[in-house]
């Protein structure tokens, strides 16, 4: 007879007071001890609510109505408080900076044990064990505010497992990490779940990254798909579930393992290794009738003749001459000199490049190499320690859109900083960026994708010749990523220079004309995007790793437009993602 289930949901429905329809409907789910489950669903399909219903946050902390029953390791969530339930549940959330709460790593790990009244003499050994399980034994004496994202997330994972809960909830655990952090956390999750043996419920957007080279086999063995109405659409073996729901999930803008995405688009299983799939991708690369008449050229597509720079690229609008980027330069300018100002080292030196109208340039490099500082320097927000930045005042979009918000409604947000008679312009901008129906909402209450659209729209409303953007697609689902790329293409077509940093090389390859790579405290490469991506030396020095799809495309096709057509063809399979007409023209 099977042991008591780690998790049992019976006919669970959840409603929130200010929403007319239920977020979860009649969900029934049983998870055995040690079983691993992944939950698929588009944004807004109730994945987060499902996790909250398991931890007891719904209905105890968040105002909501829950019918049916949830029990964790035999404890009903209705009868127990969130804290009481924590005896059975470990949670790893997406943001390492709020998942780690105390000043020292040791204290962070001791806290769950102290709270469960573990005898003090056992605590030190268990801290060592938990840190070793996540591959972070060296972090024990560290302070938590000095940890990188990947380190912080591993410490948070150790803290969520150290008290050996029966169930581990992973809520997009890698979505805020760079590739290096992602790999480390991914390995830590495997090792730690093997060491502690909890049941696992995983919600993850970036599935391709999460699954890694193993593909679908790198995901939990069982999967559940939540539909838009909050019902369970499929439940079973992950490979079978993905095969059955591929088209639907892909169209809804979920990030999927490449194999599943290719199945959705080409209708053939097996992924890149299969000749039929490759043939279908090659077919995507063929120029289609009417391509020349459609907007691609104007909307940021390179010409079919490829190699030569497209004629739409115009004059230089921003020039960096021998710029030295340093955080200390700013402090020196203040009246009261700080002690740190004297010693602040240069982050980047001898930076020389130009941004031109109509050109989209990607800024690539590992975390901590100074990409954000470089963008701030170009934007005039951080004075260069040496050298000069010349050109008209640029616009800039920050990584966290909330940092930019100044107004209490969307329409005022766009109007901010514009001349008084800009009413018509504001309306046009809201229309263009599909924000008009949200005009009276508070910017802070929008969804992640809407916040990003608003921050880009509010910046583009200003007449600036160049737009800088810091990780503009970070944390977005695939549909919003494609929409952001489309907005940038439009802005470039209207004659702006675009310069954006990103870790997502697939988006970079889809969008950018050119790449600037920073590493070793300077710019190590600056050139046409596919030339840079084909240079193994540059990739290695900058710590960049090509995703398998891009790797194959670069090997398969010589011309940039071919590669671009395949990537756009894949994006076109995501419904509602496009604002630009060229994508509807190339739908497969």
């Amino acid at each position: 007879m099977p042991a008591e289930p780690a998790l049992q949901l019976t006919d669970v429905s959840v409603e929130f007071p200010r929403r007319d329809s239920a977020v979860l409907r009649g969900v029934t789910l049983r998870l055995d001890p040690g079983e691993h489950l992944i939950v698929f669903g588009a944004s807004g399909s109730g994945k987060s609510t499902l996790l909250q219903a398991i931890t007891g946050v719904v209905p105890h902390t968040v105002l909501s109505t829950l019918t049916g029953s949830v029990s964790v390791n035999g404890t009903s969530t209705i009868d127990a408080s969130v804290v009481e339930l924590s005896r059975h549940i470990g949670v790893l959330s997406q943001d390492p900076s709020s998942g780690v709460c105390l000043p020292d790593v040791e204290q962070e790990l001791a806290l769950p044990l102290e709270n469960r009244a573990v005898p003090p003499e056992q605590i030190s050994a268990r801290i060592d064990h938990a840190l070793a399980a996540v591959g972070a034994a060296g972090l024990r004496q560290r302070q938590t505010d000095r940890l990188s994202g990947g380190e912080g997330q591993r410490v948070a994972l150790a803290a969520s497992l150290i008290a050996e809960p029966a169930l581990l909830l992973l809520d997009e655990p890698t979505s805020m990490l760079d590739p290096a952090g992602l790999t480390a956390v991914r390995q830590a999750i495997d090792a730690a779940t093997a060491a502690f043996g909890p049941s696992v419920v995983l919600v993850e957007h970036r599935l391709d990254d999460y699954a890694g080279p193993a593909g679908i086999a790198g995901l939990p063995e069982r999967a559940v798909v939540l539909g838009d109405d909050g019902r369970v659409l499929a439940d079973g073996d992950t490979a079978a579930v993905l095969a059955g729901s591929a088209g639907q999930l892909n169209a809804r803008g979920c990030w999927l393992p490449l194999e599943t995405e290719l199945l959705a688009v080409t209708g053939r299983p097996g992924g890149l290794a299969t000749p039929e799939v490759r043939a279908a991708l090659r077919a995507l690369a063929l120029p289609r009738e009417g391509d020349d008449l459609q907007a691609p050229r104007g909307l940021g597509m390179p010409n079919d003749d490829g190699a030569s720079p497209a004629p739409r690229i115009g004059d230089t609008v921003l020039t960096a001459r021998n710029v030295c980027v340093s955080r200390g330069a700013e402090l020196k300018k203040r009246r009261r000199p700080r002690r740190t100002a004297e010693t602040a080292p240069a982050i980047l030196k001898h930076v020389n490049f130009e941004l031109r109208r109509g050109e989209i340039t990607a800024l690539l490099g590992a975390n901590g190499t100074g990409k954000t500082s470089l963008l701030l320097t170009l934007a005039g927000l951080l004075p260069p320690a040496e050298g000069s930045v010349a050109g008209a005042r640029p616009g800039m979009v920050f990584q966290n859109p909330e940092h930019q918000f100044v107004a209490h409604s969307v329409v005022d947000e766009v109007r901010h900083g514009l001349p008084g008679d800009a009413g018509r312009l504001v309306k046009t901008v809201l229309d263009q960026h599909r924000l008009i129906h949200l005009a009276d909402q508070s910017p802070f209450r929008l969804s992640g994708g809407e916040k990003r659209r608003l921050s880009v729209a509010a910046m583009l409303a200003h007449d600036r010749p160049s737009l800088l953007a810091d990780e503009p697609t970070f944390g977005l689902d695939r549909r919003d990523t494609i929409a952001t790329a489309a907005a940038f293409r439009q802005a470039a077509a209207a004659g702006r220079a675009i310069f954006f940093s990103s870790h997502d090389l697939r988006t970079v390859a889809t969008l950018a004309d050119r790449a600037v790579v920073v590493a070793e405290h300077t710019v190590i490469a600056d050139g046409a995007i596919f030339d840079v991506l084909r240079d193994p030396d540059v990739l290695m020095r900058a710590g960049l790793r090509l995703p398998p799809l891009l790797d194959w495309l670069l090997a398969e096709f010589d011309s940039a437009p071919d590669i671009r057509r395949v990537l756009n063809g894949l994006d076109a399979a995501v419904s509602g993602a496009t604002t630009a007409p060229q994508l509807s023209g190339s739908r497969v």
């Binding site: 931890t55 946050v57 902390t61 969130v82 804290v83 009481e84 924590s86 005896r87 549940i89 949670v91 959330s93 943001d95 900076s97 709020s98 998942g99 780690v100 709460c101 105390l102 000043p103 020292d104 204290q107 001791a110 806290l111 769950p112 044990l113 102290e114 709270n115 469960r116 009244a117 573990v118 005898p119 003090p120 605590i123 030190s124 302070q143 938590t144 505010d145 948070a156 803290a159 969520s160 008290a163 701030l376 934007a379 927000l381 951080l382 005042r393 616009g395 800039m396 920050f398 966290n400 909330e402 940092h403 930019q404 918000f405 100044v406 901010h416 900083g417 802070f444 910046m459 200003h462």
Partner: protein
Amino acid sequence: MTAATTSAFTASGSVLARRNPTVKLALLFVVSLAMVFVFDPVTPAVLYIVALATIQASTRLPVKAMALGHVPFVAFGLGIFLVNALSRPGQILWEAGPVRVTVEGLSVGGSLALRTLVIGILAIGFVASTDGVALMGSLHQHARLGSRVTYAVLAGYRMLQEMPREWQTIRQAHAVRARLRPDGTLPRGLSAYRRAAFALLVVSVRKGERMAQSLESRGLGLSPRTTWRKIPLNSTDWLMATTVLAVLGGILALSHILGFLEGYDALFS
């Protein structure tokens, strides 16, 4: 102990730093309370000199840090002194037009100013020798502060560490769209700060909510609970407390015998 919670002021590893934080805090409180009943200038002056010498010896603070720590207390004390010297009625010592200085004013003002310094030097000694995390742990263990309050303060402390960075980013993000002043510089108006403060508030409240959920998911609030690294409370701490109280009592008694000590009556004489 924890560099994260120490400032430039901290004299970690000193004699005073090894004492129990709760005991130190209680002594600071008791001495301050006793000072409320003293209104002559001599008693607090003696107490200040004794306290300064003891704290300097037991923390080995650099003179510069010590002087810097005094600035707010000296400024506050000077203000009290001047107000009292110029406004308190009594025997006139010096007069020029509307300005007159009384003996009572000098005496009471001097007493209040020196009282400020006594409390000030004790506060400096406390801050310089106490690790914030250890203080919270000690209050939890020795002063029955609830675990939820204790760890909420510690988590809040971590948020506080990240706030300057967050503030700077918000200010920069807002500056991008700000209309420049005629000379090309960024506006520094009150409304710009208000907007940035609002954004910081929203971002921080969100983060606070997430941290609260993290702490709950770690089981904060369960009982019974244990404490891993106990903050020591030993006989040396009791010895320190007894000595401090004895010295305080001794100085007050001596001052009374010698006729310096004055209480509330000094205010109305």
